[in-house]
Homo-oligomer: 204 residues x 2
DNA sequence: GTCTATAATTCGATAGAC
DNA sequence: GTCTATCGAATTATAGAC
């Protein structure tokens, strides 16, 4: 047996987490039934409560895991003191598009939760006090970029990167756009979004 | 009595629709209970089923109403033969921001539904065969705008306009950004988004 | 049309055997 | 740790009186 466990070698706890992650992110909290999680995990309903006391506790674990990953990409970007503005934007766009290609349900899942139960993410504070923010202000002062509310810069980068994954079912239905075409479109945007942001920052 | 009915003068059917619209868009299908709708409407639970046979039928009415409004803004824009490219963009951004200011829950509500039950919206076909599309292709041929996949243009306009409302709970928590500040930011974007799109279309 | 009462089902959670 | 069986609450929907 290799040290790397096969899928069937997962512990019961891991099997439940895997099943819960799949169903919660796919269908949301209310629409996901504990019976379905148990079935998907190949175990019994009672065992789910034995390991995780309640549906809500299990959900919180999955949600924090998702919120964490989601926020991490932004934190990594805005606090990096070794990259230029343009490099930061490229890094964030690349990381998000790669992540959301693997986990396309994540953004809607996270946004739904933040709406119903606002968290202390303090996105705005984190951004306003970040190294990225300082770089922007310096570039503005030097006249290298146009005068602009920094919130708009961050909002635009994230909008252009994430929204297409949220709107995917709208543009890509009935095979009008194949999965492969959508994938290619997103890969193409990795290079285009930084260029567009650059054009925006230099517009008068 | 004026011909315009007061809120308390609504028919029972209207009272139920109003309550259902509020709760469904706010909390989604599963989390909304028929009892709560009845309570919100000030009527009895049995009466809800008397008028609308089932929870699902009632939901479909509310959902189609929302999807319709959502799509209408795009249809109005891409099929208008009397406006320039820039005027079209300004119109769409203005209409969406005004609509979502009134109905901030709409985008998440609609996106959640389209994901779970893909509709025959054929957004891509409608766009690809539209008058707006023809204008873009002409402008590209004349070299007035840069060479770009038209899907990206539409995707960017909609992303920049709608995503901030979806991400609202993330940027605006714990009074870090007041409702008024958020409102002002969105109003400001009415003028900025068309400028940014313009810069994007002229970038090399 | 509107109500009260309740049927029928579903769901989260637990008891208790192994 | 894992299972079967079941409880108790919640929820959608309906029956039947007025």
């Amino acid at each position: 047996m290799t040290p790397k466990a096969k899928k069937t070698d997962l512990t019961t706890e891991q099997k439940i987490i895997h099943a819960a992650r799949k169903l919660f992110t796919m269908k949301g909290y209310e629409a996901t039934k504990t019976r379905d999680i148990a079935k998907e995990a190949g175990i019994n309903l009672a065992l789910l409560n034995y390991y995780f006391r309640s549906k809500e506790k299990l959900f919180e674990i999955i949600m924090q895991e998702n919120v964490g990953q989601f926020m991490q990409v932004i934190s990594d970007m805005v606090n990096n003191e070794n990259t230029s503005i343009n490099e930061k934007i490229e890094l964030l766009v690349n990381n998000y598009i790669d992540m959301l290609t693997r986990l396309p349900d994540m953004p809607l899942f996270v946004m739904n939760h933040l709406k119903s139960t606002p968290q202390r993410t303090e996105m705005r504070e984190r951004f306003m006090g970040s190294y990225f923010m300082k770089q922007i202000q310096q570039a503005m002062k030097k006249g290298e970029i146009t005068t602009i509310n920094p919130m708009n810069i961050m909002m635009n980068i994230v909008s252009l990167t994430i929204f297409p994954f949220i709107a995917k079912p709208m543009v890509q239905n009935n095979h009008s756009l194949s999965s492969e075409q959508f994938y290619n479109l997103m890969q193409e945007r990795k290079k285009l979004i930084p260029k567009w942001i650059d054009a925006m920052l230099k517009s008068k």
